[in-house]
């Protein structure tokens, strides 16, 4: 059995943990082992991979979805959304937190990445929730969990990257994540409602005030603030789900629509557009660089016989499919302590998916579980991007302890979502099959 390719993983990890850029860590590892396995010919393989990856039109969805989010973040749309939602939910127990989650769902449905979204939402809602004396742990958990919904609610850049790596269609992944994403969002809302009903101190109900808008005014605010972005989301997701446009084309429509929307709300400026374009370039190049280095890495890994060896090793161990699955999820969970999503996807999707297919599982379903696991890794310390973003925008009275305490119930809800999806795979597989019949 060929063991050499397996040394690639520790080498890449050591380089990454030394603080070398992920893209360089993977390129260096691929180069060293490539030279060892293929000699000088390895460079031809690299050239071929560069050409393949940059000629794949599917990846156009990455910059377009990133841009859509970057444009909307600068547009002041968040304020309008929050206003439109919280006038309806403010009187509920935990109403402001519920409004925050709902706003995050809408934001997630209009962009593909987390991070900046979380900062926008956090800056906007944390001061309001603090003013009404919400529990600081609950505030932290809500922002972290809500802000990272972008992965599991379509459109998702993670899915665009994952599809080609796992050799499944991006469209199927986007269909597949609709119900799991909504279930996760719904669980957050239910949890906040229940915990605030049981312990009113967590999220006190807000008494009606004389200045409250009347019903008619509320309807008007909602129509004006909520309908245009929601229409835009339906245009993008609807055209993907109904098969009218490919994910790439829908992303382009969304990018154009996001600019039009800022014009409609009179927040458009050339500076904002230019900044959004530069920001998009940096995020896209970062993602695509790791993707490129990752393909070089897995090219050498597979070429050196790594996948075959892994298959044989697993056949020898005679694991049952479910034990294998559980083992993989455990590895992903642990990897999430240390690695960011893009490295996790790049390293583990190409290695795990063939094994999962051999074990007889549906690869789309597996990728959705993978996506949910990535969500938990956003929230799980020590390497918790969601908490880093929160720290950047939170006022000092919210301590790091509040944050760690606050994310725990939401991690549990994510695990619950995963268990639900494991028990009822139809949640994932039903929609792609049904939509196929419509086309």
């Amino acid at each position: 059995m060929e063991l050499l390719p397996f040394l690639m993983l520790p080498m890449a990890f050591v380089l990454m943990f030394l603080g070398v850029q992920v893209v360089y860590s993977m390129m260096i590892t691929a180069l060293v082992f490539g030279l060892f396995t293929f000699g000088n010919r390895v460079v031809f393989q690299f050239v071929e991979k560069i050409e393949d990856l940059s000629s794949n039109f599917v990846f156009a969805a990455v910059p377009l979805f990133v841009f859509m989010g970057a444009m909307l973040e600068r547009s002041g749309i968040a304020d309008r959304l929050f206003e439109a939602i919280h006038i309806w939910t403010r009187r509920l127990p935990g109403g402001l937190a519920i409004a925050t989650v709902l706003m995050c769902v809408i934001f997630a449905a209009s962009s593909g990445v987390i991070g900046a979204t979380e900062s926008v939402v956090g800056l906007l809602t944390i001061p309001v929730m603090l003013r009404y004396a919400y529990d600081r742990g609950l505030i932290s958990g809500t922002i972290c969990a809500g802000g990272s919904l972008g992965t599991i609610i379509p459109p998702s850049v993670v899915a665009v990257v994952m599809g080609p790596l796992a050799d499944i269609s991006v469209g199927d992944l986007l269909y597949g994540m609709v119900f799991p994403g909504l279930i996760m969002g719904a669980l957050y809302v239910v949890y906040i409602f229940v915990v605030c009903s049981l312990r009113p101190k967590y999220g006190p109900r807000i008494a009606s005030e004389p200045g409250d808008p009347r019903f008619g005014a509320k309807v008007w605010i909602t129509t004006r603030n909520l309908i245009p972005p929601v229409l835009m989301i339906f245009a993008v997701l609807g055209s993907i789900l109904l098969g009218w446009a490919s994910p790439t084309e829908a992303a382009a429509i969304g990018a154009l629509a996001s600019v039009l929307l800022t014009m409609l709300y009179r927040t458009y400026s050339n500076t904002a557009l230019f900044e959004a374009l530069l920001k998009t370039l940096k995020v896209t190049s970062m993602i695509m660089a790791v993707l490129l280095a990752g393909t070089l890495f897995t090219g050498v890994f597979i070429g050196g016989g790594g996948i075959n060896a892994a298959n044989q090793a697993i056949a020898k161990m005679q694991l049952s499919p479910w034990v294998l699955l559980a083992l993989m999820m455990l590895i992903l969970f642990i990897a999430g302590f240390f690695l960011d999503w893009i490295s996790i996807v790049l390293i583990f999707v190409p290695i795990f998916t063939p094994l999962i297919k051999t074990a007889g599982f549906d690869p789309v379903w597996f990728c959705i579980l993978f996506l949910i696991m990535i969500q938990t890794s956003y929230l799980t310390p020590p390497m918790a991007p969601a908490i880093f973003y929160l720290r950047a925008v939170a006022p000092p009275q919210i301590t790091i302890r509040d944050m760690y305490r606050g994310v725990v119930p939401f991690i549990a809800l994510q695990v619950l979502t995963m268990v639900i999806v494991m028990i009822w795979p139809a949640l994932v597989t039903w929609l792609p099959g049904t939509m196929l019949k419509f086309k």
Binding site: M27, S285, S343
Partner: protein, 168 residues
């Protein structure tokens, strides 16, 4: 040394802005394709090829710019505790391996361009059937710039390791 860093970074900056602007034609071309398919009943001949050319050029030309901006992701959970000097030394070692690789890749990409040019190869991707060489020029430019910016980063790291110019 300062001057060479500055001139590299100026070129990289200009190319980066150009790359960022490529998103505009990409968006418009792709929207136009959808529009003409549904509203005019005839998909365009060119949108697919133009689309992937712009997509590829966008991120490839942005590689060096992103490096300059320090936005290529690092895992700093352990290395955050190292001293600035140690981090600079690690970076120097990494750049010393990466730069030869990038130069080698640039050279091979140049050969690749030359093959496409001298044989007048075409993509065969669609009815448009563009020649392959313009896209391969983008590969060469992108990787040469990526190598140059890595060199600039190497020089900056050397300065940091010596403790000159950068107090933080």
């Amino acid at each position: 040394m300062n001057i060479s860093i500055r001139s590299i970074e100026r070129v990289v900056g200009a190319v980066g802005i150009f790359a960022a602007l490529l998103l505009v034609p990409l968006t418009l071309a792709t929207c136009w394709e959808v529009f003409s398919r549904y509203a005019m009943g005839a998909p365009t001949v060119w949108a697919y090829e133009v689309g992937y050319l712009l997509t590829g050029s966008h991120f490839l030309l942005g590689l060096a710019y992103t490096l300059r901006a320090g936005e290529h992701i690092r895992i700093d959970i352990f290395s955050g505790r190292f001293s600035p000097r140690t981090r600079a030394v690690i970076d120097i070692l990494a750049y010393c391996v990466v730069i030869p690789l990038l130069v080698w890749l640039s050279y091979e990409l140049m050969q690749h361009f030359w093959t496409g040019w001298s044989r007048s190869e075409r993509t065969g991707q669609s009815a448009m059937n563009l020649p392959v060489w313009p896209f391969r020029v983008v590969f060469v430019v992108s990787f040469v710039l990526f190598a140059l910016q890595s060199l600039a980063e190497l020089m900056k790291s050397v300065r940091r390791a010596r403790g000159v110019g950068d107090a933080s």
